[in-house]
């Protein structure tokens, strides 16, 4: 894997007063039934990567969509880049969302647009000149090693390739926060590792704070136990016993946050649900 051709954020505009990039306080949400999330509180610090674990259907994707205002909580407070967004009008949320990048579960590529137009979607809206768009799209595609797909349509890509194009789309605007919704869900182990390697590379090269939702423990562990080596151009295993200090874990059980801590604390946790999940 090549070193990052994506230019790093020139001034990774931190959240106000270097406070948390994202802060949830007592957030709850329900959809015509019992609460999907109940009294959830956590935060993401600048440069921090948080892995949200939990089995299917516990509200992980809902939590991710609350983070950038795609959903509104019933109660509680959500701060994004220091601004309260839980009651912010949709029009005011759009500029904030342009500062985030989101990778959806199935990629969510626009199927009527080519890979180039998908990756450049935000740049096209901002009326960036075509030459600059082409150059930046090629850089982003090179980052995910899919430069040859420039003119293709999403329908002609495999599931893993679509996911990588979605990552390129999320990275191209040099976001200040990255949200990954089960980026390896439904993929084979080799492709999953490729995707996780991209996430590790992004974390270690650009240091963008991120929140990754997954139910795959092995992905979470790879993320924590590896670092990206720019000289080798690939990720390498950290020495035994070492973990990435900026990668921490959250775990949901039936809408409640039951764990918030490091990998070490996770494996030592005596919580019955955590133990069962780890086993």
């Amino acid at each position: 894997m090549n070193a990052s051709p994506i230019s790093q954020p020139q001034s990774p505009a931190p959240a106000a007063d270097d406070g948390p990039v994202v802060a949830f306080r007592n957030v709850s949400i329900a959809f015509d039934g019992p609460p999907v999330l109940e009294d959830v509180s956590f935060s993401i610090a600048p440069g921090e990567t948080r892995v949200l674990l939990g089995p299917a259907g516990v509200g992980k994707s809902v939590l991710l969509k609350l983070t950038n205002g795609l959903l509104r909580p019933d109660c509680g407070s959500i701060q994004l880049f220091g601004e309260e967004i839980s009651h912010m009008p949709e029009e005011m949320l759009f500029p904030l969302r342009t500062r985030t990048g989101m990778v959806f579960q199935e990629g969510a590529l626009f199927d009527s647009l080519t890979v180039r137009d998908n990756v450049a979607y935000q740049l096209i809206q901002e009326r960036v000149p075509d030459d600059e768009i082409d150059s930046r799209v090629r850089d982003a595609l090179r980052f995910v090693e899919l430069e040859e797909t420039f003119d293709l349509y999403p329908a002609s890509l495999s599931g893993g390739m679509r996911r990588r194009v979605a990552i390129a789309r999320a990275f191209i605007h040099q976001p200040e926060l990255l949200l990954y919704d089960s980026p390896t869900g439904g993929l084979d182990p080799v492709t999953s590792t490729t995707i996780i390697e991209l996430i590790v590379k992004e974390r270690d090269v650009c240091h963008t704070p991120s929140l990754m939702v997954t139910h795959r423990l092995q992905d979470a562990f790879i993320l924590c136990n590896h670092r990206f080596d720019p000289e080798l151009g690939r990720m390498v295993l950290l020495p035994k016993g070492e973990t990435d200090p900026n990668t921490t874990f959250l775990m949901l059980e039936e809408g409640r946050l039951i764990f918030d801590g490091s990998l070490h604390e996770l494996v030592k946790s005596q919580n019955k649900f955590v133990r069962e999940f780890l086993q």
Binding site: E90, T98, Q105
Partner: protein
């Protein structure tokens, strides 16, 4: 409780009407506020306007022909077959042209809007658009509504013209009447209030069919089955609402433009 399903259905209807009213209000405001996505407007104008031309021409010709056949049979009882032209032109321009075009275009385009936007919703493309900082209401809904209003206006004129021509063809070739007399009657008894009435209606119908198509598309849930359901609801609601609003509009316009 036996009344529970009824109560639930009633609440659903009220909620849908409320949601649609808010959606339609927001869509209407967006028509007058920048940014307006002109490339999307042109693409939709081509799909809706040019794409619907053939069905509008065919239905216009057939309806005009049927009107001429039916009216001639009735009018001959009073020895008044000479006014067939007046009958066909007034009926087409005041009523059938706008309503028929509205219903035909809603069958074609409200369904396509609902299914296209619905597919985008269930594959999270709408969420992706919002996450990328783009308002789907402005990017997807406003161009569709704007182009439907504009194109339905012109399609109605085409349907009116085709209806009168269809009536003329039947009058000349099947009823063996004088074509010049038909066209004279069609033209002489046509007044500005008739034309205004016929051209105001498609503006409302265009707004109704496109906003309903987009509304059902944007609130799709339940996967591919949900897309099918949204499509059916869009076509049925748009067609029924067009006919109902036509009734209301006709009353208002008859008072304003007697």
């Amino acid at each position: 409780m036996a009344l529970d399903p009824i109560e639930k259905a009633a609440k659903n209807i009220v909620l849908t009407v409320q949601d649609y009213s808010l959606f339609a209000y927001r869509a209407f405001l967006n028509l007058w506020r920048p940014p307006i996505y002109w490339p999307e407007f042109l693409v939709q104008a081509d799909i809706i306007g040019v794409g619907s031309l053939s069905i509008v021409v065919l239905s216009g010709l057939s309806t005009g022909g049927v009107l001429a056949l039916q009216s001639a049979a009735t009018l001959s009882a009073f020895g008044a077959t000479a006014v067939t032209g007046q009958f066909v032109s007034l009926t087409m321009i005041r009523e059938l042209g706008p309503v028929l075009t509205g219903v035909m275009v809603s069958g074609r385009n409200a369904s396509s809007m609902a299914s296209e936007l619905g597919s985008m919703v269930v594959t999270e493309q709408i969420d992706a658009m919002r996450a990328l900082g783009v308002d789907p209401m402005r990017k997807l809904v406003t161009p569709r509504i704007f182009s439907t209003i504009v194109m339905l206006f012109f399609l109605t004129i085409v349907a009116d013209a085709c209806g009168i021509l269809g009536g003329a063809a039947v009058t000349v070739f099947m009823n063996h009447q004088n074509g010049t007399q038909y066209l004279d009657m069609a033209w002489e008894h046509l007044h500005y209030p008739d034309i205004v009435q016929g051209l105001v209606k498609p503006l409302f119908f265009g707004y109704i069919l496109s906003s309903i198509g987009c509304f059902y598309g944007m609130r799709t849930s339940g996967g591919t089955e949900g897309v099918g359901r949204a499509t059916i609801q869009a076509v049925v609601s748009a067609s029924v609402l067009i006919i109902f609003v036509d009734f209301l509009l006709t009353q208002v316009l008859l008072r304003l433009l007697p």
